[in-house]
Symmetry: C2
């Protein structure tokens, strides 16, 4: 099959996008992508998202340097979710953990902290 | 850290929940969970979600038999996304693929088809 899947950006113009480490398989983060964010990601090879809180297009690592080089974008069956396969520089999470999913629902920290956020964010 | 993370179910009472194969690391699907869906998942050990289209609580595999045994639930840094680590029976996708993310954004099928949907769904 080579038909380009239709993307369903929904009422708010966004789809959830999951970033997964292309090598280790670790799920790094979940954010949202607009059509423009997807286009910029494809054009540049660097993960772009749309920030719902700041209401703006956003390049991951644009300020921290913790960019994501995207090797492949996958689309789910309904076309309303994306999977970015990435090579993560540094850590994905602003807390310094490699993955934003560093805690269990009971609050146990199970992720790996890879940087000190005080050194990266002012 | 053992403090239970606060969950932010947002305006619609839902958080996106990503299901990942606990062994292979394959990202299987993205759906949405209500507070009740999370509670039922924890009580039963089987993945529950909330269907936005059918507007109801839903046990994955309830009709198909393709259940997800959940070994761990992780929460992201902001408490507004979940990661279910699961043992997937059969395939996660109604199309017969093991993962709903079986296509690239260019439409190339890269996933593994593990069942014939005509045999499972009437």
């Amino acid at each position: 099959m080579t038909e380009t899947p239709a993307l369903d950006f929904g009422d708010d113009g966004l789809v959830p996008a999951v970033a997964q480490d292309a090598d280790s398989g670790e799920v790094l983060m979940l954010a949202y992508a607009s059509r423009e964010a997807v286009e910029r990601t494809r054009e540049t090879g660097l993960a772009h998202y749309y920030s719902r809180s700041r209401d703006e297009l956003w390049q991951k690592g644009g300020s921290s340097g913790h960019t994501q080089a995207v090797s492949e974008i996958r689309v789910d069956c309904d076309g309303d979710a994306l999977l970015y396969l990435v090579e993560q520089t540094g850590g994905a999470c602003h807390t310094g953990y490699r993955s934003c999913f560093y805690r269990t629902i009971d609050g146990e920290a199970v992720g790996e902290q890879v940087f000190d956020p005080d050194d990266v964010y002012e």
